[in-house]
Symmetry: C4
Subunit: 235 residues, 4 copies
């Protein structure tokens, strides 16, 4: 029996959520689950329909990008996942989809302002949007460079990937992460909803104010940090 | 057997409607049912998925905010519900969700004009939108202050919560209420539809006229008051 | 056994389509089926949820507005249906809903231009939008006057209800009709789709051109009139 | 047994995808499958609901437009399909629908810019939009002329139908094609999603930049051509 069985099942379950949460048509999304102790992550195989996906078809890749288990090609976005695990210490899951509203903001090339508590419950900053990748970077390992583009964007702006677990890659789409594969896809669904709400907000009021700092802080702390009181202690 | 069994079942059924009416993703909504004779209300536990919710997991809270039955933490919005029951005499149910179009109007910081009979069938005024909460109020009991913000908004504008059973909290989202938990969630669904229609109306015609007073009055009275003739007498 | 059994079943089936085609939430729509030989129409009872509707609960009303069969109150819009059967010779079914996009155009107070063949396949003119009803008319029999408002709008503009089987009542919503109850609800679904497409068209291009006359004529004739060749002869 | 059994089944399956992918209400779409060796294509019968469609009801037509098998009238758009098979060498399937967002762009009379990688994964150019058909052409065989309008649009602009497998017919709607009937309907769903994303992009940022050439090229080559590495070799 595979020693990656649990990790592969975790990745499988999270990939199946893409369809349940309506975040992609056909095969347009992939989730991976990371095991830092073993130094490997389990990821969706490339181009396989979710309705045909099985736990066994999940591919296991190490931090050098080498396949350590699985007969199928891993997602073409595998190198992007790998960079995020290498550079964003502590994350355990990564999700990439082409969800409609998040892609629209990525194509618009705009960060998503914090317009409300729905956003503030999940992050304390606008959702960043990268620059377009340079022609030189595209000529290199494109998917690896996509990861670097994300991590450089966070470094340059002094952003903490533990507090902002989502990004828009300009002209492409969203990447989200979290404490687990399940949380990364949860953040994918949250981002899609935030992006839809923000678009509607501007459509109703192009001069809408961002949420004041004091309310934003409050909502983040309700759900996160030492004094959080949302949810159940025993869950 | 619990003496709150019926009240908890009422709250349970109304919370399950959140998903059926597509008013929230994940756990982003909560409904409570109030029993004025017993001076308690039954409310969703915090952070529990609707698909895992059971009548037994509903928490019963009294008007001082003390838990009188249940092992789980009540919704983090419990204090807001409590204020509404204390101040809006006669209501028996309260609903809070993060439904997409209502949140968008709340984030836009705009009251929703009465553009048509769909709105007038359910209320005789624009749906009010509060101010942002002050930094001082946020430092206090935030959720309690959210309730006060709503009731103060109604008082200042001279609005009758029996005629306008919905409000938008600026930068946050909708609260609705009614004669029962079931009616409060019905008003949540009505508000979402009204918000979508009003956004589309302005998108088609930024200079759209509000519904004339005489038609608005007529529609309200068709469904409400002593001469109402909508529906069945025996229902 | 009721001599209106077939008519009531026809009305029942058409009312159930409201939910299947997503044209209303809760009870916000009603369809009737007309039998000109018997001089009666069968219509949904007021305020009954579609999931609780049965063929037996359908109410039969004559052209004077008198209930001839049924224990429930008929739809509060019954008088509007009655006027349409009296004035639009040859129609056999009427549908009224609060479908989202059609209501938005009605609230915007704008006729829907013929932007494409989807519209032209079903009508040769913009979908008319009435004026607001006058205070005097509202004081009369409101629902009867709604019917008059529709038929007067057609008369004044010289429109043929056999060629344009849909209308928007300003600030209220759509009424559609057809050769049968089933066709009237089909036109309700067509109108909703046309309204969504027209809104999107203007959102993409505020200066979009209407469909040229020669293409509009062609599409209408493909489906209607003596030289129609769409569909199957034997159906 | 029919010697077209496999081709008819292929066409049947692809037509059933129209509903699964939500690309049309009622009967508003049709797919055909082409067998170049036999010189025939199998197409949906006109005006038949998808829920009543069977493999046996599919009609087989030759390249002169003559029915070679089937008792029903073929789709009224058959002549358009025929022209595409005659003029776009190598294609094996054609899809036409009235999907909402693609129709909106067609009615807006605008080509869809390449705003992102979702588009670039499937084509290297903006999605072309034809002119309106002339009154003379409409008087001829209208559906045949629709095909000519598409192929002339490609010729005039020097576009390669192997690289851009979708088009918008002005004031009408989308036609897509591919290596099989299944791929043509896949392209129909892709086009609908691209059109929705592009509309949202412009709504968020009316000055949104198209995707830079170097990223567009990269995404096309990831999925197409000799060095493609998306998906599984063995699939």
């Amino acid at each position: 029996m595979s020693k990656y069985k649990t990790l592969k099942e975790e990745a499988f379950e999270a990939n199946m959520e893409i369809k349940k949460q309506n975040l992609a048509i056909y095969t347009w999304g992939n989730v991976s689950a990371f095991d830092p102790a073993k130094g490997v992550f389990a990821i969706k195989p490339s181009g396989v329909l979710y309705e045909k996906l099985k736990p066994q078809s999940i591919v296991v890749v190490d931090l050098d990008g080498k396949i350590v288990e699985g007969n199928l090609n891993p997602s073409s976005d595998t190198e992007t996942h790998r960079v995020l695990y290498l550079e964003f210490q502590g994350i355990r899951g990564v999700t990439h989809t082409h969800s409609t509203y998040a892609v629209a903001w990525a194509q618009a090339g705009k960060p998503v302002p914090v317009f409300g508590t729905t956003h503030a419950d999940h992050g304390t900053e606008p959702i960043p949007c990268t620059e377009f990748m340079s022609p030189e970077a595209v000529k290199n390992n494109y998917e690896f460079e996509t990861g670097k583009l994300i991590t450089e964007t966070f470094k340059k702006a002094g952003l903490n990937p533990a507090h902002i677990n989502m990004v828009l890659v300009s002209g492409h789409g969203p990447f989200t992460w979290g404490d687990s594969a399940a949380q990364s896809i949860y953040h994918g669904a949250v981002l899609e909803e935030i992006c839809k709400m923000a678009w509607l907000t501007l459509s109703i009021n192009p001069l809408a104010n961002p949420l004041p700092e004091h309310i934003m802080e409050k909502h983040w702390k309700r759900k996160h940090g030492s004094s959080a009181y949302y949810g159940q202690k025993t869950q």
